[in-house]
Symmetry: C2
Subunit: 158 residues, 2 copies
């Protein structure tokens, strides 16, 4: 495990269980323009660095039929994130906030989520418009984006 | 492990690795009106059965600040799902399809995802409008829904 910085004032850490409740399989990797987590943008709305999702065999058989969708939800494992900060104070926020009101990569289960636009598919590679994670990030799942249930254009935030 | 039915014609199964690449911690449970996965609705758009997300201590400290959001993204572990069907033939589809073009609970990493509307919060319990999973489903993560990056109202599907 890498060494992590001590929590900032107002941040709160917890002890995580030593034993896992369930196990994940890495099914591929995300190739991005960002070598390390420190290089990653906070959001990708204005970014133009394309990225590629590589799905390893035998999981790539599961890509059959994705061509008809314009967008996917990608879930990935933020393998270089600490997991123990339950209250965090990001530099762009006036006050500390609970992890479940933040999209921070630091979470008890560091699963990253991005809605990605498909540009093209080439075998087991899906070229996408942009993503916020570091090169080599392990892939966990891809789901078709369904506007009927996933899009809430008028969702409120503070 | 429960016994699973044999694949239907056109379905494809794979052997999953025996060893996990990463481990998850269950951080709470989802309380719903559906006792088993067989009772769960295919989608919740027209459903009115309320549900509750219970976040266990010490993870509940991470809820600070969620009040300002109208919607959350819930990630949960579909612990009663098989993981080995990479091509599936759901009864409502004319042809078999790859798992990554389906929102089936059967996936190599059976992580369920729902965009949920917050009705109220009562300590470590969040009452929500509806969700599609069975009572007792383990919770993995909650993320604030951000319309700017999560809402794609004109996303296309086949």
């Amino acid at each position: 495990m890498p060494e992590f910085k001590p929590p900032r004032p107002g941040e709160q850490r917890i002890d995580l269980p030593t034993r896992a409740d369930a196990g994940l399989h890495f099914i591929g990797r995300i190739r991005s323009a960002y070598p390390t987590p420190a290089d990653c943008p906070k959001n990708t709305l204005e970014r133009t660095e394309q990225a590629t999702i590589e799905v390893d065999p035998p999981y790539d058989q599961g890509l059959a039929g994705i061509e008809g969708f314009s967008h996917l939800i990608a879930l990935y494992w933020l393998d270089r994130s600490r997991r123990d900060l339950i209250v965090q104070h990001p530099s762009h926020r006036p006050e500390p906030a609970g992890v479940f009101s933040l999209r921070s990569p630091v979470r008890p289960n560091p699963i990253g989520l991005a809605v990605v636009e498909i540009l093209s598919r080439e075998g087991n590679k899906i070229h996408i418009r942009a993503i916020d994670c570091a090169d080599g990030t392990p892939l966990l799942d891809l789901k078709p984006y369904l506007a009927s249930s996933d899009s809430v254009a008028d969702a409120r935030r503070p």
